[in-house]
Amino acid sequence: MGIFSSRRWSALASLGVACFVAAAVLVGCGGGASGDGTGAMTGAADQSKVSLAENDPANPIQILSSEPSLVSGGNALVQVALPSGTAASAVKIVAAGSDMTSRFQQVSPGTLLGVVQGLPVGTSAIDVVPAAGGANLATVSVRNWPIEGPIISGPHQTPYFCQTQQFLLPDGSTLGPALDANCSVATRITYMYRATTGGALKSLPSPTALPADVAMVTTNAGVTVPFVVRIETGTVNRGIYQNAVLFDPTTEAAPTPLRPPKAWNHRLVAIEGFGCPGGWYTQGAAQGNLAIAGFDFSLLNVDRLAEGNAMFANTLMHASNNCNAVLESEAAMMSKEAFIEEFGVPDFTVSAGCSGGSYGSAQPADRLPKLFDGVMILCTFPDPLSIAFSGSDGHLLTHLFFATNPGVFSDAQIAAITGYKNVKAFTDAANQAGRTDPVPGRVDYPGYASAPFNAIVPVGVRYDPIANPKGIRGTVYDAGKNIYGIDAATGFALRPFDNVGVQYGLDALNAGVIDVNQFILLNSLVGGYDQDANYVLGRTTGDPGAMLRAQQSGLQLGGNGGLASIPVFDVSGIYNDDAGYHYQWFHFAQRDRMTQMNGNADNHVMWRGNPVPSAPAWTAFIQWVAAYKADTATGTQREKVIRNKPIEDGCWNGDTFIAERQTLSSAPNTPCNALFPSWRAPRLAAGGPVAANIPKCDLKPVTASDYAVPVTAQQLNAIRRIFFTGVCDWSKPGNRTGVVPNGSFGPSPENLIFTNP
């Protein structure tokens, strides 16, 4: 959040009030390029002259809870910098025509802070006017959106199933029936406390008296308070929003930005989630609380709360409820805004999670660069798309290996062709293609599950190509159809998967593990998919728009957005390349993307272990974020992040840390790789980059020099006939683009990338 400093105002103030007015409109003073010199704005804002995308740092009015164009729920935390020598009583603050002055307080000399309320949906103005009347002293345009959204994620997903009646509050009660079709509920506060005997939090019997057994806790800011946690639950962006923070209701008044909980250390932690299959059409009946490998990513993690951190979550930030990162980032953005409007601006906000929580942290951070100030990721995937794409490659291969051509390839050959450690590792990953398959009940390789839905979605509304061809489709693509686009003929989401030119098994051929005829057979028969994920003979050509927007949106993690300038700490989480599809190559894919886009990944640190000790990892991460945020010296944010990095790559052998740059290798060529060897995936074993971020490769003609083994003229002809448009030239970037920071898919017009016709 850009905050207009009082120091900066002092310089401007010397030029007088006239400049104050002009600065609000003309962006700067002392030589405005155009305009009538007064720049006073009243009433409705003139959108043609004022960009709402970001706070104008020259404007004395700053929106602290969101960007001016992305206000939601009618509220905004506003800071006003007064001209030097101007008393607070000399001005009025008017929002959309309503006097909000009484809601503001002077928080430092010349600086007012307050929450404006009641902003109408649409564009309106917040004005600073002389109390005695007269022309505006400053104005800012804001655009307010309904608290149920959408803002940047495109039209609401329909149908959408409320789960307020299933959502359990910490005291065991539920939220009851939703109040409207947006699954809204009245906000409620519950309190839990920790007893002196430790253990799980207990329900506070009364908010007016503390129980005798309440424990005391001292935060990392040195504040000692009763261990009582205030948990707020409401609805934001149609998801169930919660925040939690130490708070003593017996001594403290309801929190506001002007009066935050005294134990809050002004650090905010986002709780993400896990999963993805089935994450569509539902509000979610739970947050994505997850304890794994010694880490606890839960809203009520007592260690994090004891440190004084505030926590927040939204069920739509949990991939098991929502597997669309654009919607997830919107939910996080709006939930953070709601938090700020209630508690104030945190010193920093971090997000941490495992698996779905890793991309739940990284994707929104990349899309919305101001959302998170650091991410700690475990069980890392760059994005759900990398799981879907590698799964789709693998699924084609399972079909070939086990259904149409059984016995042609040995297990060792299958492992070499697919890049995985073994057949089990391969098939586990391949079965993840189920999340791209809309056809219910498809019988395929054991463990494959098509059309995964949350049980709350009635069977009768689900897509079936015969029985219900207009039904809703449970795929990762259809969940993101606002981004991928819609096929006008079918109404289905356009699909970004493409395998034209991919020489499956290329590395296995060149290593001599398979022969040329096997290579030819493999590539001639592997085929592709149609829109229903049915097998087809030819390769699949992805939709160009879907592939482009997958990247612009960050549904395919770019690494060039917010991730370029915050600490990214990858802490392994799960080490298991034998099964389960949480494989090491995904970790390196994410880092390689950051390297490609930013020149290096010096703001990325990887620790591997089985597991990595959680306490030193968390401590190092927070130290890193705090250090760069406190760095006021000259430099870009990225430079500050890198120069304040307190840790380097390494791996943990039990309690022993081995400092070593982590690399992707299945060979025991380093101490860490001996402990944690890593394998790959089919497209990597086809010569593709570890970054796995080229949806459609550039093509080149087939040449014999591509192959490290002898190839006859006839075999070369066969390869050319298979790849009649050419083979992938992985030395080229293909259609790789990267994320468009702050990209919108409507209705917000700022940074608008795409809306479906």
Binding site: I520, L521, S524, G527, L537, Q714, N717, A718, R721, F724
Partner: protein
């Protein structure tokens, strides 16, 4: 009773050779020759089949790629059993035995023009796509409704394949055990009825 036994033997004799070579029930006129799919390449040459009483010679389709090396068959891809093929079929159940001789003139080898049988509408490939240009073998397949051969041109460019079928024989369908039981029961019933009539006359 003697006549009933004779009838049973006659019925059991149904399993004996019904046809050898392309004569009688398997004479050329009883086969259907079709080129399926659509060639889209230049100078298309449709597949052809030529019978003699002892041999069937089939040559698959071919064309010139419409563009570079793109397929000359709509929906066809190299080395896959695509839609474009010459097929020679007959709707007669039985066990088909034959020798085959395959020769590919495709510049990409036999993978470009797969050859095989169609048993009850299911294609079974006999040629080895990674094998030599010249291949041969003997085979026997039991069909419950129809049988035939195909020469698929996959992407239908680069040259065709020629297949010669010889030493062909059809053994008519072998009844299932249940069928035998019905036949025997029927014959026994017939015999019993005749015996009853004789007793009545007597």
């Amino acid at each position: 009773m003697r006549s009933a036994a004779f009838a049973l033997l006659a019925l059991l004799g149904f399993v004996g050779p019904a046809a050898a070579n392309f004569t009688g029930p398997t004479a050329p006129a009883n086969w259907t020759v079709v080129n399926t799919g659509s060639l889209i390449g230049g100078s298309p040459t449709l597949g052809s089949a030529t019978f003699s009483t002892t041999q069937l010679m089939m040559t698959g389709s071919n064309s010139i790629s419409p563009s570079g090396l793109s397929p000359g068959c709509s929906g066809g891809f190299f080395q896959t059993l695509g839609p474009c093929q010459l097929q020679v079929t007959i709707n007669t159940p039985g066990t088909y035995s034959f020798s085959w001789s395959y020769l590919s003139s495709d510049d990409a080898g036999p993978g470009g023009d797969p050859f095989g049988v169609i048993v009850d509408s299911t294609r079974i490939q006999l040629s080895d796509p990674g094998g030599a240009d010249a291949q041969s073998g003997t085979a026997s397949f039991a069909a419950s409704s129809s049988f035939g051969w195909f020469v698929n041109c996959s992407d239908c460019i680069g040259g065709s394949a020629t297949v010669t079928i010889s030493q062909f024989a059809l053994a008519a369908a072998i009844p299932e055990p249940e069928t035998y039981a019905l036949i025997i029961a029927g014959v026994m019933g017939l015999a019993a009825r005749r015996a009853g009539r004789r007793r009545e006359r007597a």
